[in-house]
């Protein structure tokens, strides 16, 4: 057991997957010789050679399209988009082909590939380097969407994503890349896709979050706890498909819930979760479901990005309003 950052944990997952299965290839801009601009793929080219760790020319659509071809051929490509903000150049390949290959060929071909991309604000980066547009992918039939929240689950989820027989979009919360360390078991570990986890038990209010918003949500829960409110915190981990059962159970228990994400609120993932909880658990609700999200704007340049991002303060404020709401 070593204490790893998320970067190191993801690097470990890639090493393990490549070690275990020679179908696994890594491709993207600067993933090879440079070891990735975040050093996430460091050491891979030394261990597995440039036939398996491919520095591509600068073209996101081609990276996705090449991965689709590799996957059809029977390999297991792990493609990197350098930032999720550049993945829109590959959006057509992902929507029109990766998400449809199994269906279009009636099961003859498929596109078992992972498209990794750092997302989210908070690292004082430039424009297009701070987006959270997971909803684009979550709304696309035929894709799965995974967002880890810590080193250990990042490693285990990436392992599962690589093994998954279908295309998985893997959103990495770059704000957590190096923000804390966690014990990660030496032996391979995987975590089933499509399952949320209860991070903290409570019975007063459910706080639902994922990715880089999870630590802030836990911080809010701690703050609420110091005032005697027991919040249950759920980490979604897979955004599509959502683990309805876990959410439903918690919300039925607590009767109140808040969804937190840094993506713009309007037409963002929280709306979907609220709609589902209304559909399944309306009569258990004691207060309006609320969301704490990014604003409906582009992430401002870094001097103000923290003002853009939901923080524990805002989560607590909205939680209090929810708790104060008449049942």
């Amino acid at each position: 057991m070593a204490e790893l950052t998320m970067i190191e944990a993801l690097n470990k997952a890639l090493h393990e997957a490549m070690e275990a299965d020679d179908r696994v290839l890594v491709l993207g801009e600067d993933v090879g010789v440079d070891g990735g601009i975040f050093r996430l793929t460091q050491g891979l080219i030394e261990s597995f050679g440039e036939e398996r760790v491919i520095d591509t020319p600068l073209a996101e659509s081609a990276i996705a399209g090449m991965a689709i071809g590799l996957a059809i051929y029977g390999l297991r490509p792990v493609a990197e988009m350098q930032f999720s903000g550049f993945s829109y150049l590959a959006f057509n390949q992902l929507e029109a082909h990766a998400a449809r290959m199994r269906w279009r060929s009636q099961g003859r071909f498929s596109a078992p590939m992972v498209v990794r991309m750092p997302y989210g604000a908070g690292v004082r980066a430039l424009e297009h380097h701070s987006e959270s547009r997971e909803a684009y992918y979550a709304h696309t039939p035929g894709l799965k969407l995974v967002v880890p929240s810590g080193p250990r689950n990042a490693r285990a989820l990436l392992a599962s994503a690589i093994e998954d027989p279908d295309p998985v979009i893997f959103f990495e919360p770059k704000a957590l890349y190096r923000s804390f360390r966690e014990e990660v078991p030496d032996d391979p570990e995987s975590l089933a896709l499509g399952k949320a986890r209860v991070v903290r038990e409570g019975s007063d209010i459910t706080l639902i979050a994922y990715g880089a918003m999870l630590p802030r949500t836990i911080e809010a829960a701690d703050s609420l706890a110091s005032d005697g409110v027991e919040a249950e915190v759920i980490d979604l981990m897979t955004i599509s498909p959502i683990d309805d059962a876990t959410l439903e159970e918690s919300v039925r228990k607590c009767g109140r819930a808040i969804i937190v994400h840094e993506a713009p609120g309007s037409f963002g993932p929280a709306g979907e979760i609220i709609a589902r909880l209304v559909e399944t658990s309306f009569y258990h609700l004691e207060a309006p479901l609320r969301r704490v999200t990014g604003f409906d704007i582009h992430v401002p340049y870094f001097a103000r990005e923290q003002a853009y991002l939901p923080d524990a303060d805002r989560i607590v404020a909205v939680a209090r309003e929810t708790l104060d709401a008449r049942a």
Binding site: L25, E51, R52, I54, T56, P57, A59, S61, A62, A64, G65, M66, A67, I68, G69, L70, A71, I72, Y73, G74, L75, N92, Q93, A96, H97, M101, R102, W103, R104, S105, Q106, G107, R108, F109, S110, P141, G142, K144, P165, D166, G194, P241, I242, D244
Partner: protein
């Protein structure tokens, strides 16, 4: 340090072998035995007749929109014939001739064009991607498959089919560049049929040829008479061999013509003259091959009639089988199939909700009938 002309690899060749009169350039003629020669003609005729039948069924409302292949049979058969069964074909949406050659069953094509996803099934033995519509986006898959082939040191090659319009798409450029950088065993086969719906070739791009787009990647590029099955075959054999030998990709521009509508939703009289079509009718690929084969005594009236009958029978049997089959394809739940290897719970719920609604609808109908 004067101004000087630097010379990148800038040669672009043109190849033609079989002319409109049915005469060949002996020096360039690829080696083909009699069976192969008549096989080419049979395949082109088969595609032509199948296409006609599709059009006729579409006009009767029995099939949906499709893109006829008429006029491009030589470009497709000449190229696909250069492949082994184990090679890969990445089609767009107009490759009926090539796919028929590869073994795609007529029945499946009928079913697909009648609007059933089931028609898209592909035999396990056929390394052909499903037909696919977003113009210019599939060459990337061909390049990716080719890269996989290289990685596995497999000796297959990939042929990627697309049109003149597709060369304007960014994905085409990216595929050419990646393939050239990685020396992927892929042949980019452009069927320049002079039109992208209503946009003529010279409004699509200003370059004198499409073949010269290979120069941007120092990739071999060649323009061939795309209505000359031998020229297409020879150029593709050369490119396939180069790819198989580790020599990397090639761009082949087949100069051909779409003699029919773009798709059955299109009205070409809005944008092109009948004269142009007539001019190209004279250059069409079947006639010249027939003349050549007649000159060799490999074809005559009688043989052609036998061929025609064979093909007609095959088509009608396939249509009959497809029609019968489609009567069974009544389960709407099929639309949920093959989205994922393992269906997530919510999809199963939706599948069941649909069943429930349909059952309720059926009950109401039954009730109304009994009243």
């Amino acid at each position: 340090m004067p101004r000087m002309t630097i010379k990148p690899n800038t040669q672009v060749d043109y190849l033609g072998i079989l002319d409109e009169a049915g005469e060949i350039d002996e020096d360039r003629m690829p080696e083909l035995d009699d069976e192969q020669l008549t096989g080419f003609y049979r395949a082109m005729l088969r595609a032509r007749r199948f296409d006609e039948r599709l059009l006729n069924l579409q006009r009767q409302g029995k099939l949906g929109t499709f893109a006829p292949v008429k006029g491009q049979e030589a470009a497709q058969i000449g190229s696909v014939a250069a492949l082994r069964d184990s090679d890969w074909v990445v089609p767009s949406y107009r490759e009926t001739a090539a796919l028929l050659w590869r073994g795609t069953p007529m029945q499946g094509l009928f079913t697909l064009l009648a609007g059933y996803n089931e028609g898209g099934q592909i035999a396990d033995t056929q390394n052909d991607l499903p037909q696919s519509i977003p113009v210019g986006t599939q060459p990337l898959h061909a390049m990716g498959i080719a890269h996989g082939i290289r990685y596995r040191a497999d000796d297959a090659v990939v042929v990627s089919y697309f049109g003149d319009g597709a060369t304007s798409q960014g994905d085409f450029h990216e595929a050419m560049n990646f393939a050239s950088v990685f020396r992927s065993p892929v042949v980019f086969l452009c069927q320049n049929n002079q039109w992208a719906i209503s946009v003529p070739r010279d409004r699509q791009t200003r370059s004198a040829t499409l073949a010269q787009k290979a120069l941007a990647y120092d990739m071999p590029g060649i323009q061939v008479d795309g209505n000359d099955v031998f020229a297409v075959y020879a150029a593709t054999c050369e490119a396939v061999e180069r790819a198989r030998d580790g020599g990397g990709p090639t761009l082949i521009e087949c100069v051909t013509y779409r003699l029919e509508v773009h798709t059955t939703a299109d009205d070409p009289t809005r944008y092109r003259d009948e004269e142009e079509v007539e001019k190209w009718e004279k250059r069409e690929p079947l006639l010249r091959l027939r003349r050549y084969l007649e000159s060799l005594d490999l074809l005559d009236e009688e043989k052609i009639e036998a061929l025609e009958n064979d093909i007609k029978q095959e088509i009608e049997e396939a249509w009959k089988a497809a029609s019968a089959d489609m009567e069974q394809l009544t389960d709407p739940g099929v639309m949920f199939d093959h989205l994922f290897a393992q269906e997530p719970p919510r999809l199963t719920e939706q599948r069941e909700a649909l069943q429930k609604w349909d059952a309720a609808k059926q009950r109401r109908r039954d009730d109304e009938e009994t009243q």
